[in-house]
Symmetry: C2
Subunit: 340 residues, 2 copies
């Protein structure tokens, strides 16, 4: 990406093993993320370009001398942050704060919208999966890189438990997988706020019990109506704009939790006396440690009990990536899968 | 209180039983709260005056026909909100959001800085305690009306558990009792941020392991130094000013929790990408359901295992209340106990 709206597919030098803890992964599938649309809207001119993509699955082509958990030929999932797996944060399941980790597309590490990626700290980062390159499960496995883990993080941090009432704000891939996650954690009622019927239909398939298409005050009133005026115990905010935050405040029940996984596009927000303090509202969430959830979520994916890969509604080749951004930005596609 | 700084002791009609669920309580001890200093600073001219005080203990003088749990002659603690004890919020332990409850000094209900108070919903509100009017435990019992329960709420909502590292911001009565509560919940390290040595000394007695007198960036650096650069898992914010909030952000560890019980004197605050989202910070706390914690905290008070009443460093009679406000506002007194 060279600037807002300017995405190009170019040839770059092949990545190579640099550290004994690296692995080289040939990308089989990657995808475009809703959060990639933020730089697509506002990246300043970047003469050298910026590599993109933070979600990928693929095959290990080579490993450094200290790598012990994956080897050439293994099929692996890469979460959206790389991490050592051994520091105190990683042991606590907060790999996004790893003491030695980092994020793709920074500090000499490439991104997933590519043919191959050098993966630092391969033992802590990659998860080996017993599937082949032509498995029908690939789309669902790919969601474990980010969007499924992010939706699950929202629900888990929100404290969703059997009997919870939940509102999910946003019908993008993360919102829909927050619905699925809330359902898996036992939510009794899941109200999905979203305007795109094809998407909210998938949300209903994932477990939403109600759909509210209205936004703003009208949407809030609708959710209040559905909940005897109270709002829901938990609100999962999967958008990131201030309007979604305000909607979250409007629909959360006293004593409830707003769990944010939409990347906030604001610095300050209402957290004052009337909105937060008197009703004892909790604000939580954040960048999901997707790595922490892969082990937990993988079995049901492998068994076919859940099919989070349904969020992909378009598949393109690597040279179609520029148009993929456009299609997601135009809301023509929910989420675009890229074949490398 | 008639306006900022204008506190008067006046005669008003004696309260009487109005509802069959009321009790009439003769106040034995009440006190002045740090939060009473907010109207003391900014109450607009109020020609009829406003009754004050939301913390009191006393003796039941009369009860309405439907009251079953307390009777004439019982010694009782009144928490700072009255509540029915039976609605869903009360059953969840969030009595401050009771569907039929309310707060003192509003809607025809008086306050604790008085000789007597009509207590609505007496069965849900009052807690009977087996002590006499001359018990040495009265100051500690009085803290269960608000400040001890509020400190405990901070620690509990902050998730303090055995091994936690905790920073407490503020050396007022709530901050000091947040220290005590964190200690009771098993915190391993408790860093108290406060500038008044006599107060922080009491904090050390209550369980603080470190005291940081510096504020702002200097204070943050000190706490970071004490914690290997990381900050603490939990921050208990017992002040309510924006500077305290910013301090909380500065000293909280990634993945940590800021639990606020200082009444926020701002509407908006930083909760954005870098401060909150990437490090997965949780913001919680709020108006404490003191009623919920009385049963839990009372046994150790009655056994003398804890002595939260040490936060009172001045005792006055009812006619000394105006000077009591002044003394607390001038930081001459930590917390003023009022004998009615």
């Amino acid at each position: 990406m060279y600037s807002a709206g300017d995405v190009r597919v170019i040839d770059v030098p092949d990545p190579v093993i640099q550290q004994p803890t690296d692995a080289l992964v040939r990308v089989v599938n990657s995808c475009i993320c809703g959060s990639d649309l933020h730089p697509f809207h506002n990246l300043p001119a970047t003469p050298g370009g910026k590599s993109m993509g933070h979600e990928f699955i693929g095959v290990v082509e080579d490993v450094g001398g200290e790598v012990t958990t994956v080897k050439r030929g293994d099929f692996v999932i890469a979460p959206f942050a790389w991490s050592d797996g051994t520091c105190d944060f990683c042991r606590e399941g907060l790999q996004t704060s790893c003491r030695h980790g980092g994020f793709w597309n920074a500090n000499g590490v490439g991104g997933g919208q590519a043919e191959a990626v050098r993966v630092p700290l391969a033992d802590g980062t990659l998860v080996k999966v017993p599937v082949s390159e032509d498995s029908a499960l690939l789309p669902s496995l790919l969601t474990l890189s980010d969007v499924y883990g992010t939706g699950y993080h929202a629900a888990l941090k929100g404290g969703v438990a059997p009997g919870s009432t939940v509102t999910v704000i946003g019908d993008g891939a993360v919102g829909l997988l927050a619905v699925l996650s809330a359902k898996q954690l036992g939510a009794e009622r899941i109200i999905l706020m979203g305007r795109h019927k094809d998407r909210t239909d998938l949300g209903v398939e994932f477990g939403a019990t109600d759909v509210v298409a209205e936004r703003g005050e009208e949407g809030i009133a609708k959710v209040r109506d559905l909940t005897g005026g109270d709002g829901t115990h938990v609100v999962l905010e999967a958008v990131g704009h201030m309007s979604a935050y305000e909607q979250a405040i409007g629909v959360v029940r006293a004593g409830g939790v707003i769990s944010r996984v939409g990347v906030p596009q604001y610095d300050e927000a209402p957290v004052g006396f009337a909105t937060f303090f008197v009703p004892n509202i909790t604000l939580t969430g954040g960048a999901a440690p997707a790595r922490a959830y892969i082990d937990r979520l993988l079995p049901d994916v492998l068994d076919g009990k859940v099919n989070p890969g349904k969020v992909f509604d378009r598949t393109i080749e690597l040279d179609g990536v520029p148009d993929g951004y456009r299609a997601m930005d135009d809301r023509e596609a929910l989420k675009v899968l890229v074949r490398s």
